[in-house]
């Protein structure tokens, strides 16, 4: 089964090629079925691989397809790493990916770019699969870039709207900044360790920091990689693209936020956990940036009225939790949260898509309310998503978030306290969104109210499946107070093991910590209910206004970076480019044309002249050759 792993990315690639090349002539229905079908097949294969890996712990193997680059001492095979970590990600990506494809067949039903859309979607999944399957950083990087490209294409899918294309450009550029960090990190790895393959590289770390490199080098590499992760996984300071990425069709947002793209950074660091364990500086940095992102994004989400914006900031903030976990060494917790988050965030996004679909494209919660009466399935599944993300006990988010918070507590109670603050805000903004959307009186136009309807089965089935997962997904990682058998931790142990600050929390402490978070969440849900009960919106002022305007981060970036850069490039354009470089280039071009015109005259058609030229050449060459003898 593992030898067939190449089929998993190959299937979406085939889907992409067929839909992409034949997008003009492809019937819409076939395109949708093809794109979803390849995903279902890929998922089935992933399930097979997953169980094969699961039944043979430590079975992790590298499947080499062909030699990709051979240059000097550096050898980069095109190889796939099949082990516990990658096969888990395969499941998430293909499983949720399939549901989103299925959902899209209904959601994008009337879009003129239907076939193109599915081609892009398949390409997106293909890139992501390449990213997690690669057995070295180079293959990961190919997938990494592919994901960036696919997100650019999909975010700007409705490219006739200028704001949307701007959003896609922003996503691409922000990602490129991060990519540069990743690239520099890769070059550092090649320079110091001579390989990019995970197995070769991590072997060198078997006994701690290798003798021939310093701690600083490893810190530098880890920080460079983290900069890459900042871009893809939307952390401070490169997070601003993700909320704007809402411009794409809603299923795309679900794909970006849940199954692909943003989890790439987490995956990369979890994959490199052996290296990060040797880089305490980088780890601290990750933890601090992670928690800062949690708080910043959650605070912004409180004041957003666009339902997708709320979800977008909530993703940024949840990603912050994952990085917090990585930073404190709770790698299993981070992956656990990736998994549960994939379930409930996909659920929430698809649910919001269902709402937007029913509202005829309206995304502003000011004009919603009371939708639950017409859309029972959407309401109920959305509620489950909210409960899960808020961390209500017995739902998946509770277990994963709790694991991260407990690990943070071991590192420092301050991190824990900030984490709880973030969790409280999460509960508040999610339930605020829920109450504003589904309860109370309808605030939109009469026409919209008349139009309200539950979405078709192709949309509600994914919602139901995801809702079930969002409930039960947490039971693979029960906390130590309930059972010592952490299924996910045990499963991942051959590849990823936690590296926590202190060994164990006492059971009583853990109960207390859990109690605190549950109480805080319950309080915030109540608060959310009471503030939204009236369903009125007043103009925000003071801190609220700052939050509603997202801490003015975009404006600050504009003033500090974009504007000065623009000025510099204008200056360079005006003086260096136009006068200097253009002059030289055009001069060379003219020289080439001029000399071409002259040399051409040698070719006059006379055999005698030709032979004379040859003889002249022969004599000169003989002289040169014999002189230098």
């Amino acid at each position: 089964m593992t030898q067939l792993v190449y089929l998993v990315p190959l299937l979406p690639l085939i889907g992409f090629l067929i839909n992409g090349l034949l997008w003009k002539s492809m019937p819409r229905k076939t395109a949708g079925i093809l794109a979803s079908g390849v995903m279902l097949l890929a998922f089935a294969l992933s399930v097979g691989i997953f169980f094969e890996v699961k039944n043979n712990p430590g079975y992790g193997t590298v499947v080499t397809l062909f030699d990709f680059i051979q240059s000097g001492a550096l050898s980069l095979p095109f190889a796939f790493q099949v082990d516990e970590l990658s096969s888990l990600f395969l499941l998430i990506i293909t499983g949720i990916g399939f549901l989103i494809h299925l959902y899209s067949t209904a959601y994008m039903h009337d879009d003129p770019g239907y076939v193109k859309y599915f081609a892009y979607l398949n390409f997106f999944v293909f890139s992501m699969l390449l990213l997690v399957l690669g057995a070295n950083y180079a293959i990961m990087f190919i997938g990494w870039e592919g994901v960036g490209l696919a997100s650019y294409l999909l975010i700007g899918f409705w490219f006739k709207n200028k704001d949307y294309t701007n959003a896609s450009k922003k996503a691409f550029i922000m990602n490129r900044i991060g990519d540069l960090g990743f690239l520099v990190g890769m070059f550092l790895v090649i320079y110091h360790f001579g390989t990019l393959a995970y197995s070769d590289l991590f072997m060198q770390f078997a006994d701690g920091v290798p003798a021939n490199v310093s701690q600083g080098v490893i810190n530098a590499i880890c920080i460079c990689f983290f900069i890459g992760a900042m871009g893809k996984s939307a952390q401070i300071p490169l997070y601003t693209w993700l909320p704007d990425a809402m411009a794409g069709p809603t299923p795309v947002s679900a794909l970006i936020h849940a199954a692909t793209m943003v989890t790439a950074g987490i995956y990369m660091i979890a994959r490199s956990n052996i290296m990060y364990n040797l880089a305490p500086l980088a780890q601290n940095m990750i933890a601090i940036i992670g928690i800062a992102t949690v708080l910043l994004a959650a605070s912004i989400a409180i004041k957003q009225n666009d339902i997708k914006k709320v979800l977008a900031y909530s993703t940024v903030s949840q990603l912050g939790y994952m990085f917090l976990a990585l930073g404190v060494g709770a790698y299993v917790g981070a992956i656990f949260h990736v998994m549960t988050h994939a379930f409930f965030k996909a659920l929430l996004f698809l649910g919001s898509g269902s709402v937007i679909h029913a509202m005829g494209g309206e995304q502003d919660m000011k004009f919603m309310g009371g939708l639950g009466r017409k859309m029972k399935i959407t309401q109920f599944t959305f509620l489950i998503g909210c409960l899960a993300i808020a961390g209500v006990p017995m739902f998946s988010g509770f277990f994963s978030k709790d694991e991260i918070l407990a690990a943070a507590y071991m590192k420092s109670p301050v991190l824990y306290a900030l984490g709880i603050a973030g969790a409280m805000m999460t509960a508040f903004y999610m339930f605020r969104a829920y109450f504003l959307t589904f309860t109370g009186a309808f605030r939109g136009t009469h026409e919209q109210e008349h139009h309200l309807h539950e979405s078709p089965a192709a949309m509600t089935i994914p919602l139901i499946v995801l809702a079930v997962l969002a409930v039960v997904g947490g039971y693979v990682g029960l906390p130590a107070v309930i059972t010592e058998n952490h299924l996910l931790g045990r499963y991942l142990s051959p590849v990823v093991t936690n590296n926590l600050a202190s060994g164990h929390l006492s059971h009583s402490t853990e109960w207390v910590l859990m109690g605190i978070s549950v109480a805080a969440v319950a309080l915030m849900i109540f608060l959310a209910y009471s503030t939204t009960k009236k369903g009125t919106f007043k103009e925000p002022s003071g801190l609220g206004k700052v939050l509603a305007n997202k801490w003015y981060v975009d404006e600050i970036y504009n003033a500090l970076i974009v504007k000065p850069l623009k000025h510099i490039s204008l200056l360079l354009d005006r003086y260096v480019e136009r006068c200097g470089i253009d002059g030289i280039v055009n001069g060379v071009g003219r020289l080439v044309q001029w000399s071409g015109g002259k040399i051409r005259l040698l070719q006059n058609g006379q055999v005698g002249v030709y032979i004379f030229g040859m003889v002249l050449g022969i004599i000169l060459l003989l002289i040169v050759g014999l002189l230098f003898l």
Partner: protein, 465 residues
């Protein structure tokens, strides 16, 4: 030796067939079958030789009193050349049929040229080299003039013959000087270390051989015949001369420079370096000015020869691999481009205006071939240039030539992209001389696939050695 005998026999067979068969199309079918057979025989021979070599552990298998030596490398090259000829006839047979009345003879000459190529790639003795070159050249003189009603074609034939005879004389002179110094024609017995004052004879002989070889591959300043002949000869035969024949000569000369003359590299490398530099400059700069795509391709073949000369200068292991990649990459792209060109009524750049609108498939294929010739990454042309440059850098003495080559490659983008620009960004209604058939599309598709496959996995070609 089976392929050599077979190709000569097939040539004779075609000539006899020309006496009885009247239907033009049947010649093409016959030739295609024979070429497929010939490729098969080559593969058979390759497999057999491999087996023999693995058991006796020698460098190669000898024939004809050590005058011919075959090994896996040169047999693989022969196989590739036969397969390329098959592709060529598949792409061009309609045009070949239209050149004149003697279709059977044209194919016969192509088979004789193939025999020459087989000798050229496997020689172990200067006499066989000479035989191979002449066996390749004389049919080409005839093919160049095969369109008898066309004055330009006759002119091309005569010019080619006159200058070719001149260069043959120089080649023989070079061989004679070498024999005078070394007292043998067997290149395995060449020993330059004990020559003493006779070294000057040997060096002069080598330089004369370089000049004659430069003539055959149209290196400057022996390139003058190329534009006139390529332009005047019927288009399908220009395609054959500019690709398969040309790379075969490179292969033959690389083997003599690498295996026999390498110890004297210090003496002849500079001469070859000057020739290379001149070829790159003249080929590329003159191509810029052409109005006709066919003539541009003639200059482009000069420019590409400049790059292939890198391999001869370096004469190392990288160069051997590189010449194989370059041979296939360049031939496939140029053949494909000529196949597109042969479809057009008007050979000027303006004739291609708007082709992308009316014939998107043709235009897209042509664009891929042009990108490959310009050496854009992910195409075969890029890897080919990469190998050439890597070989020269490994050699280490001609870095200035590498820089010149890269600059000239940039110039080449100008004239290659002019065609793409005409096809995609200009308005116009190009007229086709012949309709595009499904078979054409499939073969062009194969060429495009080869261009990309080689651009991504050049090792595919080398792993078969």
């Amino acid at each position: 030796m089976k392929p050599l005998i077979a190709s000569a026999l097939f040539g004779i067979l075609m000539m006899f067939a020309a006496l009885t068969v009247k239907e033009r199309r049947s010649f093409s079918v016959f030739a295609l079958v024979l070429l497929a057979l010939l490729t098969g025989i080559n593969i058979w021979e390759l497999a057999e030789t491999r087996q023999a070599l693995s058991s006796n552990n020698m460098g190669g298998v000898y024939f004809f009193k050590n005058m011919v030596k075959v090994d896996a490398f040169n047999l693989w090259f022969n196989t590739l050349m036969s397969a390329l000829t098959l592709l060529y006839v598949g792409l061009m047979h309609r045009n070949i049929e239209r050149v004149g009345l003697h279709v059977g003879e044209y194919y016969a000459l192509i088979f004789f040229i193939l025999s020459g190529i087989y000798l050229m790639s496997t020689f172990n003795n200067l006499l066989i080299l000479f035989l191979g070159i002449e066996l390749m050249s004389i049919p080409q003189y005839i093919l160049a003039g095969s369109d008898k009603r066309n004055l330009k074609s006759s002119e091309a034939s005569l010019k080619y013959f006159l200058m070719g005879a001149f260069s043959t004389g120089i080649l023989l002179m070079g061989m004679a000087l070498l024999y005078a110094a070394l007292r043998t024609f067997n290149i395995e017995q060449f020993n330059f270390s004990m020559l003493g004052s006779n070294t000057i004879l040997a060096v002069a002989g080598i330089i004369l051989m370089i000049i004659s070889f430069g003539f055959k591959v149209s290196a400057a300043p022996m390139h003058f015949w190329t534009p006139d002949v390529y332009d005047g000869a019927p288009t399908p035969f220009t395609a054959f001369m500019a690709t398969i024949v040309k790379v075969a000569i490179f292969f033959g000369f690389l083997s003599i420079f690498k295996n026999a003359f390498y110890t004297l590299q210090g003496t002849w490398a500079l001469v070859l370096g000057i020739i290379t530099a001149l070829t790159l400059i003249i080929g590329n700069l003159t191509a810029v000015f052409q109005q006709s795509v066919k003539r541009m391709l003639a200059y482009s073949s000069i420019a590409q020869a400049g790059f292939m000369l890198f391999a001869i200068i370096a004469s190392n292991a990288m160069a051997s691999k590189g010449i194989l990649v370059y041979a296939v990459a360049y031939s496939v792209a140029t053949l494909g481009l000529f196949a597109v060109l042969a479809k057009m009524k008007d050979y000027t750049y303006d004739g291609f205006n708007g082709l992308a609108k009316t014939h998107p498939y043709l235009a897209a294929a042509a664009a891929v071939f042009l990108l490959s010739l310009a050496g854009i990454p992910a195409t075969a042309g890029f890897m080919a240039k990469y190998y050439m440059i890597a070989a020269l850098i490994e050699d280490g003495y001609f870095i200035w030539l590498v820089i010149l080559g890269l600059l000239m490659a940039a110039v080449s983008v100008y004239y290659y992209f002019k065609v793409i620009m005409a096809m995609y960004f200009r308005e116009g209604t190009p007229e086709l001389a012949h309709p595009v058939t499904v078979a054409d599309k499939i073969l062009l598709g194969i060429c495009v696939a080869l261009v990309f496959a080689l651009g991504i996995l050049p090792d595919m070609l080398l792993s078969c050695i």
